[in-house]
């Protein structure tokens, strides 16, 4: 692979927003990721696909430092972020959603979304308790921005005051996307955003992702099983199988790649037929 020759030059290509360099991850002797390298250019929609258990979620968990790879490095905007802790990642402009929705169930939709902004708010504890002047202005401005830019975009006005725990799954996924947007992301990591949704919901989400990408200029890394969505919206696709990257390229290249077809054949006819469709 070409990437290994650039190992010592983290700053090589300026348009590379994210670079994953030769990372391996192990759980109890099992290689979940084996020497995976890839990079995402600024402004791209980059899809990661692969059978269940291929290590896609683990790759995202390594990127936002939730998992510690046994070897390899991760660069964001040319900076080595491997030594950082998970809570230091959002500040850099990396936001994510989760395969199994990870919202705060006891909080309202609007509070969940506001929470996304946490690291960008600098209200001190005492200022917050007095809620006067700047502290108050900050909260009101945040509310206004969320209402006008995020809630409008994702069409969730009707649920903003509801407790998240009481919402149906499809809406929860949407709220999670809203929360990620509130994090002011440069890079948005989406783990299976349309899984478990019906056709209409899927189309909505795909449209939202494109809107976010076009209007906000956010770079997107997306794990998805729905090949229709992947082929439609992504610029490049990376294929993982048993923790190994087996292909990377344009959707068309990947679709006709023999190894990819084999990996999917081995799993399920259904997935294969969706891939072929």
């Amino acid at each position: 692979m070409g990437t290994t020759s650039h190992l010592n030059q983290p700053n090589q290509a300026a348009d590379q927003l994210l670079r994953v360099d030769d990372i391996s991850l192990r759980f109890g002797g099992v290689n979940v990721l084996a020497n995976v390298s890839t990079s995402v250019a600024e402004g791209e929609i980059f899809a990661i696909i692969g059978p269940n258990g291929a290590g896609k979620t683990c790759l995202l968990n390594c990127i936002n430092r939730f998992y510690q790879p046994v070897s390899g490095r991760i660069y964001f905007e040319g900076r080595d972020i491997t030594p950082l802790r998970p809570h230091q990642i959002p500040e850099l402009g990396i936001a994510r959603t989760f395969q199994n929705v990870e919202l705060f169930k006891g909080m309202t939709v609007i509070d969940n979304i506001k929470l996304g902004r946490h690291v960008h708010l600098d209200t001190g504890l005492i200022a917050a308790g007095c809620y006067f002047g700047k502290a108050r202005k900050t909260e009101l401005a945040l509310r206004k921005e969320i209402e006008e830019r995020i809630i409008d975009l994702l069409e969730i006005e009707h649920i903003r005051k509801k407790r998240v725990g009481a919402l149906p799954y499809g809406l929860q996924k949407r709220v999670e996307l809203a929360r990620a947007l509130a994090m002011k992301p440069k890079l948005l990591l989406l783990d299976e955003p349309v899984t478990g949704m019906n056709l209409e919901e899927t189309e909505d989400i795909a449209r939202f992702i494109l809107d976010i990408h076009d209007e906000w200029g956010v770079t997107i890394v997306l794990i998805e099983h729905d090949m229709g969505v992947v082929m439609d919206i992504s610029d490049r696709v990376c294929v993982l199988d048993f923790g190994v990257k087996i292909a990377e390229g344009s959707p068309d290249d990947v679709r006709h790649n023999e190894q990819v077809i084999k990996a999917y054949l081995g799993e399920q006819d259904l997935t294969y037929s969706r891939l072929g469709a």
Binding site: F104, G116, H118, L125, R179
Partner: protein, 347 residues
């Protein structure tokens, strides 16, 4: 006029007091609280002060346990730290009450932070045990650090004064308590509608996700411990200044449990709930006292039964609330409020 959940503007719901209904009641309540000493006797004012101290401490505990999800079995001990700190600062160092009280809050906050350190590694039951240990260690210190605490004899605390005015009576002290209660409640309500409150609740609901949203778990847990102990410390300082003495038996383990009961009965995570819970837990035993006292006259030979009966009824009331309204008194209040604020336009 309000119609259901409809809001003219979303900025409306950033306000704490949204409806005229709430505002009107708040004014009535405040007027009632301010004029209370005019027509209440010393016993009522004594109880009112006790409720005030309990409200401050319960709001603090609710920030930690109800909002951040860190159960503390040592709240009474933190109240004790504040009480002793106030007493020592005033009597040994000659610091006036007005500076001693916030300083005592800070000292208590510092101790609370130390006790909160295990929360980095342990959660749930294990953290409970750590705070339980704190309770007993601090109780031990209160009794045995004679040089500072004067052991079981305790320390006499002079009442606060401004110039020549001394807050020595139940009625005068009541106004002091009222001011601190209003400030403490307002501060907590505000905290909860800013990034801090959201972070606390996020840690309670799903700590790993909170971390991935950029919340430094350890730092925020420590701050929650500090904040909660600060409230406890201030409550303790006020309390001992009111009682004019501080002794170790003011802060037993059972009192820590009482505070937990307050926030559970009132409503976990709700400032209003802390207030209701504190009122309930202070007032009901007093009312039962009065009731059994007057019944004694009619059934002089049943006196033996009344005293244990009091405890039993109190216990049943708590359990009853938990069964019939697990979200606490605050939830009952919300239902009443919603009913009346829409009434008679509830379409």
């Amino acid at each position: 006029m309000r119609c259901g959940d409809f809001r003219e503007s979303y900025l409306e719901d950033e306000k704490i007091f949204q409806s005229t209904f709430v505002k009107v009641w708040l004014v009535i309540l405040l007027v009632g609280l301010v004029t209370l000493p005019l027509f209440a006797n010393d016993y009522v004012m004594y109880v009112a002060n006790q409720i005030g101290f309990a409200v401050i401490a319960a709001v603090g505990l609710n920030l930690l346990t109800g909002c951040t999800g860190q159960i503390s079995l040592g709240h009474a001990a933190f109240i004790g730290v504040g009480g002793y700190a106030t007493a020592v600062l005033i009597t040994r160092f000659g610091i006036p009450f007005w500076f001693a009280l916030p300083l005592a809050g800070l000292i208590s906050a510092g101790v609370g932070m130390v006790i909160g350190i295990p929360s980095l590694r342990v959660k749930g039951l294990y953290l409970c045990i750590a705070t339980l240990a704190a309770q007993f260690i601090l109780e031990y210190v209160f009794i045995n650090w004679e040089g500072v605490t004067q052991g079981i004899r305790g320390i006499n605390v002079p009442p606060p004064r401004i110039g020549s005015f001394v807050f020595a009576t139940e009625k005068s002290f009541y106004y002091l308590t009222l001011v601190v209660v209003v400030a403490a409640v307002g501060f907590a309500r505000n905290i909860l509608r800013t990034k801090w409150g959201r972070a606390f609740v996020a840690i309670r609901d799903r700590d790993l996700a909170a971390e991935m949203m950029g919340i430094d778990l350890f730092r925020h847990k420590l701050i929650a411990f500090a904040l909660s102990s600060f409230y406890a410390g201030v409550a303790g300082g006020l309390w001992v200044s009111f009682m004019k003495i501080v002794t170790p038996e003011h802060f037993p383990f059972s009192r820590s449990i009482e505070y937990l009961a307050m926030i559970i009965v009132g409503g976990l995570g709700s400032v209003l709930g802390s207030i209701f819970g504190a009122i309930f837990m202070v007032l009901v035993p007093e009312l039962l006292n009065v009731a059994t006292g007057s019944l004694k006259g009619f059934f002089p030979n049943l006196t033996q039964i009344f005293i244990p009966m009091k405890e039993v009824i109190f216990g049943f009331l708590i359990v009853g609330f938990l069964i019939f309204e697990p979200h606490g008194l605050a939830e009952i209040w919300h239902r009443i409020k919603n009913f009346f604020s829409l009434w008679p336009f509830s379409y």
